[in-house]
Symmetry: C2
């Protein structure tokens, strides 16, 4: 199909919800093929997810999550503050949630949290050369514990028990691509 046929133009937009963590916008869209419709998009600050690698372990956080209504074990994550780079956010959030200082932060990739709904971006960072301070710096409404989990166990457990955050997979895919040289393993059929 000709690419021009895939493009939609925005004719107008207005905010239909404001909350503390995101806003929702209604957008009147028109396709190159003449279709018009109203679609919703969620606007939020950019997010960062951090793979905190400590030897053969990842540093993980455990907390109650208000979307899925259960305790989860996840990679440390947070919202990028104004003027902050994703790498700076990664270092800050890791320190706040787990007390680990990262000597080195590497950006593994950036993508859309959900291309259909979200207008913001999510960046996956790899934190290395970790030094434990033993002191978390949590917001007043955060109740978060942290722990070390063997990397193999995180990969093996993804999509079971407390390991259910989809962005854990997003981050693991980038980690496996970079660190595990998956290409050398791929069978040709």
């Amino acid at each position: 199909m000709d690419d021009k046929k895939l493009i939609w133009e925005m004719e107008e937009k207005h905010q239909i919800l404001h909350t503390a963590v995101f806003d929702v916008e209604s957008r009147r869209m028109r396709s190159a093929t003449g279709i018009t419709g109203d679609y919703v998009a969620i606007k939020a600050p950019d997010w960062v997810v951090t793979l905190a690698e400590d030897g053969n372990d990842f540093i993980m956080v455990r907390q109650w999550r208000f979307g899925c209504s259960q305790i989860t074990t996840e990679f440390p994550a947070g919202l990028v503050e104004p003027g902050e780079s994703p790498a700076e956010c990664s270092r800050r959030e890791l320190l706040e949630e787990t007390g680990y200082e990262a000597g080195k932060i590497t950006v593994l990739g950036e993508c859309s949290p959900n291309t259909a709904l979200f207008a913001n971006r999510i960046t996956v960072c790899l934190a290395q050369d970790l030094v434990p301070t033993g002191v978390q710096h949590l917001d007043a409404d955060e109740v978060i514990s942290y722990l070390k989990v063997p990397i193999k166990e995180v990969i093996a457990n993804f999509c079971s028990g407390e390991y259910i955050h989809a962005y854990m997979g997003t981050a693991l895919a980038l980690y496996m691509r970079r660190m595990l040289k998956v290409f050398e393993k791929m069978p040709e059929k």
Copy 2:
């Protein structure tokens, strides 16, 4: 930390937005440690993402995405309809978006799209034994093209160009774990 300290109870909730694709709920929560606050959760139908494997290629879809405002190349995906299993949804959406009939559907994993915000679930399915019919069955407002992309190229390109959907990584992590035997590749440090 004692698990009981991580648990939050819902005291009340009410809907603050209704749209065609999701609703937003405000929930008054109380932590075991005595903190109270209002948090938002997004309620939506469950979603399915399909890795459609055809030899050394994946069948992918290209379309304008209203969240990120660009053309993306993604795995076929869709909403689970009432009474439908994730595997049935996977087979139906693949046929509708690409015209490929799947002889075999395997559920690779199920998780939360975003544990902080979403109350629904996302299931990743692997579709195999594909037979092309050459006929899409699109909704009136869908403009979607489809193409074959080498699996290695999808993995290599994730987080660049049109390959920016976070759930592509979610799905690839499960695919790599299952198909590429990544554990055998993992170096011990």
